[in-house]
């Protein structure tokens, strides 16, 4: 395991942090950590990422996400197709394994992805506060803004990793269990395997974008409390509330403002020609959420008395 010897290039820059918080940031103490602000920022970010991705919890969540497409593919392989019901794209899997990843995304977008993102984002500040390491992080040369930005960026990277995990695991298990060929788009046109992989990548970016707004909300909630579990639960609950509101016709005026509004529109990337409007709309909407909740998180965190 690399936990004892983080890569040399991040150690010096992250030194201030690591020295102060050996419990969660298990880097080697190194007192040469007086670098330019920029180097410190990147080093801190790299250290935060290595902490995030060395946690067993993170790996468990990614493994659970990867299990979704595998379960779907195996179930379909064993039972030899279905009767046309079930989530979108399900009945296409037997003809083309590349659809496993998309089916898995349809299944995991409403709950599993928000759940894992909520855990990471909700834990970001509250987790440090809970283990008593937040104070040490802040006395080291890490400003509160930078801490927030780095925590947020790490959560965003996790969004991408989680989405790519689902998609990639789906594609791999699909190739392993089913025939692979030109992919039929929603419009009825077919594209080559290469282009379909490119579109899968675009979809992963799209879904990631859709989750960054939720991450910002999670970060804000995380600054409100010292109990990480509470922040995680609240974030997940908000994602569910948003989707429930999105289903009710009584709240139709609200729908375009919900961060989950564009979640399932990733299928617009599977049309011929690609319908880019939802991609742009999604990006703008999420940008708004990041701006508003990022600013709220700053207001709360910068004015907060950090006691733990």
């Amino acid at each position: 395991m690399s936990s004892d010897t983080p890569p040399a290039r991040i150690a010096p820059a992250a030194a201030g942090v690591e020295a102060a918080a050996p419990d969660t940031h298990g880097g080697a103490p190194d007192l040469l950590g007086r670098r330019s602000r920029r180097a410190l920022g990147w080093g801190f970010f790299a250290s935060e990422l290595s902490v995030l991705f060395r946690r067993r919890r993170t790996w468990a969540m990614l493994a659970a996400l990867a299990a979704i497409p595998i379960l779907i593919a195996v179930a379909i392989r064993v039972t030899d197709g279905g009767d046309g019901r079930g989530p979108a794209f399900l009945d296409r899997i037997t003809q083309n394994g590349l659809f496993v990843g998309m089916t898995a995304l349809v299944v995991s977008i409403p709950l599993f992805l928000p759940l894992t993102v909520g855990v990471v984002a909700g834990d970001s500040i509250a987790g440090e506060a809970n283990t008593g390491t937040l104070r040490y992080l802040l006395v080291s040369p890490v400003g509160r803004i930078r801490l927030l930005v780095v925590k947020y960026a790490a959560a965003a990277v996790f969004c991408l990793t989680a989405t790519v995990t689902v998609s990639l695991a789906g594609i791999l298990i699909g190739i392993a269990l089913f025939p692979v060929g030109p992919v039929t788009l929603l419009s009825g046109d077919s594209v080559s395997v290469g282009e379909s992989l490119l579109r899968s990548l675009l979809i992963a970016v799209y879904v990631t974008l859709g989750l960054v707004g939720l991450s910002a909300i999670g970060l804000f909630i995380s600054t409100l409390t010292d109990a990480p579990v509470g922040a995680m639960a609240a974030t997940v609950v908000i994602s569910i509330v948003s989707q429930v509101l999105g289903q009710l016709s009584q709240t139709e005026w609200l729908h375009p403002w919900l961060f989950s509004y564009y979640w399932l529109d990733f299928a617009d990337l599977l049309r011929q020609p690609i319908e880019w409007s939802s991609f742009g709309g999604n990006a703008l909407l999420q940008l708004g959420y990041v701006a508003v909740f990022g600013a709220l998180a700053y207001g709360r965190f910068a004015s907060k008395d950090v006691l733990s």
Binding site: G188, D189, L264
Partner: protein, 397 residues
């Protein structure tokens, strides 16, 4: 304390900035253009002379007809499922098909849709109805017409007999999936302009980023449910960009269809080359003969095709059609059961713009009038004894 207060400044500023940006966008979209003065007659001419045949754009349709939500009806909106099988004279599969196509047509009318339309010349058209995680396509390329539905992976292929024998404008409209473009719908209203309609011009508007004249058609009579129809006519080309139909006394449209995005460049040619993808269930459907089309262009209720009778004039006209035994078949389907309410002498459906009356003696009356006007019409002109019950089934459907 002051410093603490300052730290909340971004938290207040960010929503304010977002609000300003949003409001700015809304304002820019609704900014009205300043167009040269024209009389309503000039704008009618402009629309009539429009010869835009190649364009691509996105069309939004929304309706608020006051109908119940049909998505929960069993065998209803989910296309392809078998609904009211059995009964009546037709065989069960065609009854189920009718029910499904009825449900699909109703669904298209009553729910909001977004569609992309590509047209190149008069014989190439592609309409893509963008559903969530699915898509319905109608593609016409010369004589070939394809309907493709991605949700159940089925395609229907029809070959048009000879384009020259078909009526103008209705050629590329083969089907339940076909969502009318604003142009097609506007044409129907414009063709119907007669002395019973008052034509005025509203304030200049902007639709899909293009300046447009707002042509307002107001029925003079008070018998109809329609309050007014406003058609946005592109100032440059005369292409109708948006049609809004308001019910009498309403302030927001009961039905509207319009471009949200429009380009007048010819779309790429390979959009119109469609072959059914591998694994798709393809149905070959012969094109209905001209006789069948003439007998009845509006409904595919199967079986008989008696002549419709039109009573009344202009906006208040009522179309009456004797359908005989089919009426009971219609009312027994779960979709219709949800929609209809019993009235004197039959069952009725009232929407914001249109009423339908199914009489007990097997007639269907339709009109843009209140239900009681239909009842009066039904009572005034009792069933014509000739065709209904005994009518022979149409030759091989």
């Amino acid at each position: 304390m002051a410093r603490k207060w300052q730290r909340w400044v971004p938290a207040i500023a960010a929503p304010a900035v977002v609000a300003v940006v949003v409001a700015g966008g809304v304002f820019a979209a609704s900014a009205s253009a300043d167009l040269p003065e024209k009389s309503p007659h000039d704008v009618l001419e402009l629309a009539a002379q429009s010869d835009v045949q190649s364009f691509s754009g996105t069309v939004e349709q929304s309706s608020d007809l006051g109908l119940p939500d049909l998505s929960s009806v069993p065998g209803g909106v989910s296309t392809g499922s078998s609904g009211g099988a059995g009964g009546g004279s037709g065989d069960s599969s065609s009854a189920a098909e009718n029910d499904a196509s009825l449900a699909s047509a109703l669904e298209l009318l009553t729910t909001d849709h977004s569609a992309r339309v590509y047209a190149d010349g008069s014989d190439k058209l592609r309409v893509q109805i963008l559903d969530q995680l699915a898509e319905r396509d109608a593609i016409r390329h010369g004589d070939d017409v394809w309907l493709y539905d991605s949700s159940d992976d089925t395609a229907v292929h029809t070959t048009l007999p000879d384009p020259s024998t078909l009526g103008e404008g209705e050629a590329p409209a083969p089907v339940p999936t076909d969502i009318a473009t604003p142009g097609q719908l506007a044409q129907k209203f414009l063709d119907a302009v007669d002395p019973s309609t008052e034509v005025t011009l509203g304030a200049d508007t902007s639709v899909a980023g293009r300046s447009a004249y707002d042509l307002v058609l107001t029925p003079r009579g008070s018998e109809t449910l329609v309050g007014s129809v406003s058609i946005a006519v592109d100032a440059e080309t005369g292409l109708p960009l948006q049609v809004e139909v308001l019910a009498r006394g309403a302030s927001s449209p009961a039905f509207s269809i319009g471009f949200t995005d429009l380009s007048l460049d010819a779309p790429s040619g390979d959009l119109f080359d469609f072959t059914a993808p591998e694994g798709t269930t393809v149905t070959e459907k012969p094109f209905p003969t001209r006789d069948e089309l003439q007998g009845d262009g509006s409904t595919d209720a199967g079986g008989t095709h008696p002549e419709p009778v039109v009573t009344g004039e202009g906006w208040g006209s009522i179309v009456s059609l004797a359908v005989g035994a089919d009426a009971s078949e219609l009312t027994s389907s779960p979709v219709m059961a949800q929609l209809l309410t019993p009235v004197d002498g039959g069952q009725a459906l009232q929407t914001a713009l249109l009423s339908v009356l199914l009489t007990d003696d097997g007639r269907v009356l339709v009109g843009a009038v209140p239900v009681d006007a239909l009842e009066a019409a039904a009572a005034a002109a009792p069933a014509v004894p000739a065709p209904p019950a005994t009518a022979a089934p149409a030759p091989a459907e």
